[in-house]
């Protein structure tokens, strides 16, 4: 039972092992720290800035993760990397305004849990985040699910990064509330629990104020000299932010307007209570309503409240008359658009439905008669404003974060591919280096790309109700030219799993998304 070979080997290994270790570590560090190019010029594409007129054959210049210039005659700095994207379309990175899909589970079981933070359960290795890149989504607002009375605080992340620190765009953006009954609750219990939470908060703050006043006096070795009401009044100014306990700290911020309210109303009847509770506790101005499909019936109330809304991924509301059996279908976004309410669309949490694509959802809006502008805004600018980042995200404008999707055609043409995704100026996704997509489609990646068979193309077009002539920009054929950065010609699929330079994201978790 001797092993002369490896015994000899490990005796030799004494010195060389350590050397190898050092080399391996250096390599690991070097590859992780490979910085993205500071300046990138995307040249020759049709630019859809969403907030202004399109630019044909324009140039978009990215400097240090921000958009530095857009236009036809942009002077490209000598040190910028030029990427030829002629024939393609530049579109702002789409924004998922409301999703629990980055979490291990949508909700915890207790009804009132404002002390939670999605920080503790967001998983960078979820397939959801990788798919977001593939779908052209560059920003995800991670919010707990609707099965709660008060849920935890939310966080805006980008779908790249090995850890939450790397992913985070904005933390503590909002807090989740729901006026629709949580599982096992009816509406009365739901609202009673919600009211009680805020009443308890008031009571807690009163007691805290009294306690602070008492503490102040005891430091001077005095006894309390006024009645409780006056003591509470005097103690109020003595409270410091660090005095609040976990159970109340976030609610205090909510009622002071330091954090947004994301209130879910699943049915029309839940809308008025949502607006009321927000108004009663002074945070209506910082409220976003997350609506179920039926809520279009309360559009007047919503309009009067002046609040932005996030619509359900089910865009059509169907109702059958119980007596006549007549089916009425309402296209929900149309109602809100007609009423002049600012709305954002959210993708379906079910990855197997086409509703998962935000541009598909927007295209359906156009089909149902909304303006192209309203449809495009509903997946870019409106969600950016809803998450409070309208000044940084949601459009292609100078000074904004360089979150850019390079599409092979018009965003509302469902035949268009997401070719590249830039996040903060980092090329986070490159379709030619997407081995999973290549495997699914039976395509040879990069360099050996074949146009899809004619039959397949027609089939795809049939399936796609959004492929309208007016919405279609450059067709699929325009994509067949080699417009890549030309960096990785001839790589084998197996070698392409590495993310582009500058991108740190874990290979996604295998297996079903729901469980371990």
């Amino acid at each position: 039972m001797n092993h002369p070979e490896w015994i000899a080997a490990y005796r030799r290994a004494g010195a060389s092992r350590r050397l190898l270790t050092c080399v391996a570590l250096l390599l690991a560090v070097a590859s992780a720290a490979a910085a993205p190019p500071e300046k990138v010029a995307l040249v020759g594409a049709r630019i859809i800035p969403v907030v202004g007129p399109d630019v044909d054959r324009g140039t978009l210049l990215i400097e240090h993760g921000r958009i530095a210039a857009i236009g036809k005659d942009v002077k490209i700095p000598y040190d910028a990397m030029e990427v030829d994207v002629s024939g393609k379309v530049l579109f702002p990175g789409m924004i998922d305004p409301h999703s629990w899909r980055g979490l291990d589970q949508p909700n915890e079981s207790l009804p009132v849990m404002p002390y939670l933070d999605v920080y503790d359960a967001t998983d960078p290795s979820r397939l959801f985040f990788e798919n977001a890149l593939r779908d052209g989504i560059t920003t995800v607002h991670v919010v707990q699910g609707n099965d709660c009375v008060i849920g935890g605080v939310t966080r805006v992340v980008r779908p790249i990064g090995l850890s939450l620190a790397e992913m985070t765009v904005a933390e503590r953006v909002g807090i989740k509330l729901s006026t629709s009954p949580k599982r096992g609750f009816d509406r009365m219990l739901q609202m009673a629990t919600l009211r009680e939470a805020f009443l308890e908060l008031d009571d807690y703050l009163e007691r805290l104020a009294e306690q602070k006043y008492e503490e102040k006096l005891s430091k001077k070795e005095k006894k309390i000299d006024v009645g409780p009401k006056e003591a509470r009044q005097r103690g109020r100014e003595l409270i410091e932010p660090s005095d609040y306990d976990d159970a109340h700290a976030n609610l205090v911020q909510l009622t002071r307007g330091q954090i947004d309210a994301w209130i879910y109303a699943g049915a029309a009847t839940d809308v008025a209570p949502a607006i009321k509770i927000a108004r009663d506790h002074g945070f209506l101005e910082r409220t976003v309503l997350v609506l179920g499909p039926e809520c279009f019936k309360a559009v007047d109330d919503i309009k009067a409240s002046g609040r932005p809304v996030v619509l359900d991924d089910e865009l059509v509301y169907r109702e059958r008359d119980p007596l006549t059996g007549k089916l009425t279908e309402t296209f929900v976004p149309k109602v809100f658009a007609d009423a002049g309410v600012k709305f954002a669309l959210q993708p379906s949490p079910d990855a197997s439905l086409p509703e998962r694509y935000l541009n598909y959802q927007a295209a359906r809006c156009v089909r149902e008669g909304l303006s192209r502008d309203a449809a495009l805004r509903s997946i870019t600018m409106n969600p950016a404003e809803a998450i409070g980042l309208g000044d940084r995200l949601g459009s292609l404008e100078v000074g904004k974060t360089a979150n850019v999707v390079v599409l092979s055609g018009d965003p509302l043409n469902f035949n268009s591919w997401v070719e590249y995704v830039y996040i903060d100026g980092i090329r986070a996704y490159d379709r030619s280096k997407d081995p999973r997509l290549a495997e699914l489609l039976g395509e040879e990646p990069e360099g050996e790309k074949k146009p899809p068979a004619e039959g397949e193309k027609e089939k795809k077009a049939e399936e796609d109700p959004a492929a309208k002539p007016d919405a279609a920009g450059n067709g699929k054929d325009a994509t067949q030219g080699d417009a890549s950065g030309g960096k990785s010609q001839g790589e084998k699929p197996g070698e392409k799993k590495d993310a582009p330079p500058g991108v740190r994201r874990p290979a996604h978790r295998d297996g079903a998304e729901g469980g371990e």
């Binding site: 039972m1 092992r17 570590l25 992780a32 291990d104 079981s109 503790d120 996604h508 295998d510 371990e516």
Partner: protein, 432 residues
């Protein structure tokens, strides 16, 4: 004395190998009786000399000595060297095993069998500060005897993972007639379990709550520690803080006197472990299990001083890559060098610790590194490297004598020594 018939009944090997073993045993017994016959036996020997074929020392220079002698005196290693260079004092007992390998006793950083299994986990709350496994230790239990028959000499007995914080672990030897004789250090670690088992608590809890709850429990403990620390530094400035038995043992944790043992696996959970415990709370961290796709977190682990003690699951089938991954091998490829192996006994029997390492090697790890992962690495992880984990002068005489390389599953442990005492001797009471 064992008869040949008895051996056959117990032996799980082929007849041929059984016969070989029987022959070996007979020879060993003859040698042993020869030893008994020496006059040194009459007056207690001053020490013991182990004459062996090979000593794998696991020291910093990776020294391997062939045809070596290890001298033991007063439970410590007195001398290690090549046979011709070591003079064996005349009053030393000689254990002559010239075909055998002598390796450091194995250290298992994740064990439940040194204590009673009935007291594995008091699942009172999701976090249970104040509990400790010291109270559950059972000396000379059948499981302890079984474990040391696999060359395991030191274990960290920790509570189960049914709750997020289940109590303090105890560093314990696998030999000793009493609790006092067994225990090396208490608390030996704080046990924390993240996700997985604790999710089954009550009506199922998720990670938002579990991580919040664990963090705020530890922050309470840290605040208690800081209050005391401030007082100790400047006793005149403030009143003595109130003593609280629930939190007092946590002080050692924040002083980094002992590590936190974390039941952690899966990417997101390991990410939270590193972020919450290692980075934010600054705890000395031993990552236990580290299975499933946890190895993908290696770049973040490499930024810290955490130890990665992998097991008992040695492989992971990645459904998207459609291939088997050896967990230890992938951690190694990810640049993790403080990598060890555990059993989580009784999930995997304690005596199969080297077999776990063998599996890790079958899936692509390296045998020598695996042997380090059973000895010096877990010893360092548990902060015992001054006493155990390698065959060096002055360290405790904890070792196993094997018929060959312990990482080779065909090898058997013939003699286990703890503190100079033979706690398992196959020639007297063969277990396998």
């Amino acid at each position: 004395m064992t008869s040949r018939g008895d051996l056959n009944v117990e032996c799980r090997m082929s007849n041929v190998e059984c016969t070989t073993r029987w022959l070996m045993t007979t020879i060993a017994l003859t040698v042993a009786s020869g030893v008994t016959a020496t006059p040194a036996r009459a007056a207690d020997p001053a020490g013991t000399a182990y004459r062996v074929g090979k000593v794998v020392t696991m020291d910093a220079a990776d020294t391997v000595i062939n045809n070596a002698v290890v001298l033991e005196r007063d439970g410590k290693i007195e001398k290690v060297g090549r046979a011709p260079e070591v003079d064996i004092p005349s009053d030393y007992r000689i254990v002559d095993m010239p075909d055998h390998w002598l390796t450091p006793g194995f250290v298992d950083a994740h064990n439940h069998t040194a204590g009673s299994l009935r007291d594995l986990n008091d699942m009172v709350y999701l976090t249970n500060p104040g509990l400790r496994t010291l109270e559950t230790i059972v000396p000379e239990s059948e499981l302890v005897k079984q474990g040391r028959a696999g060359g395991v000499t030191t274990v960290l007995l920790i509570p189960g993972s049914g709750t997020n914080l289940s109590g303090f672990g105890t560093l314990s030897k696998m030999g000793g007639e009493s609790v006092d004789q067994m225990v090396v250090k208490s608390p030996g670690s704080l046990k924390i379990a993240q996700a997985g088992n604790p999710e089954r608590y009550w009506f199922r809890v998720g990670r938002t709550f579990m991580n919040y709850n664990t963090r705020q429990t530890l922050e309470k403990a840290r605040d208690y520690h800081l209050k005391w620390e401030a007082y100790e530094q400047q006793p005149d400035r403030a009143d003595e803080p109130e003593y609280d038995p629930i939190w007092h043992e946590f002080r050692g944790l924040f002083r980094r006197d002992f590590p936190v043992s974390v039941h952690t696996q899966i990417y997101q959970v390991m990410m939270t472990t590193i972020d919450m415990l290692t980075v934010r709370l600054g705890l000395r961290t031993v990552l236990d299990h580290c299975t499933f796709d946890g190895y993908k977190i290696a770049p973040l682990v490499n930024e810290t001083d955490a130890y990665t003690i992998n097991g008992p699951r040695q492989y992971h089938f990645d459904r998207t890559e459609r291939r088997m991954n050896g967990n230890a091998a992938r951690w190694w490829q990810g640049g993790v060098r403080t990598l060890g192996i555990n059993t989580d006994a009784p999930v995997v029997p304690e005596e199969e610790l080297p077999y776990q390492a063998a599996m890790a090697c079958w899936y692509g790890w390296k045998p020598y590194e695996a042997l380090r992962g059973l000895t010096i690495i877990p010893a360092e992880a548990l902060m015992l490297e001054k006493d155990v984990g390698s065959i060096e002068v002055g360290k405790q005489a904890d070792f196993g004598l094997w018929t060959g390389d312990p990482i080779d599953p065909r090898s058997a442990c013939e003699l286990t020594v703890i503190g100079g005492k033979a706690v398992y001797d196959a020639s007297k009471e063969r277990r396998f």
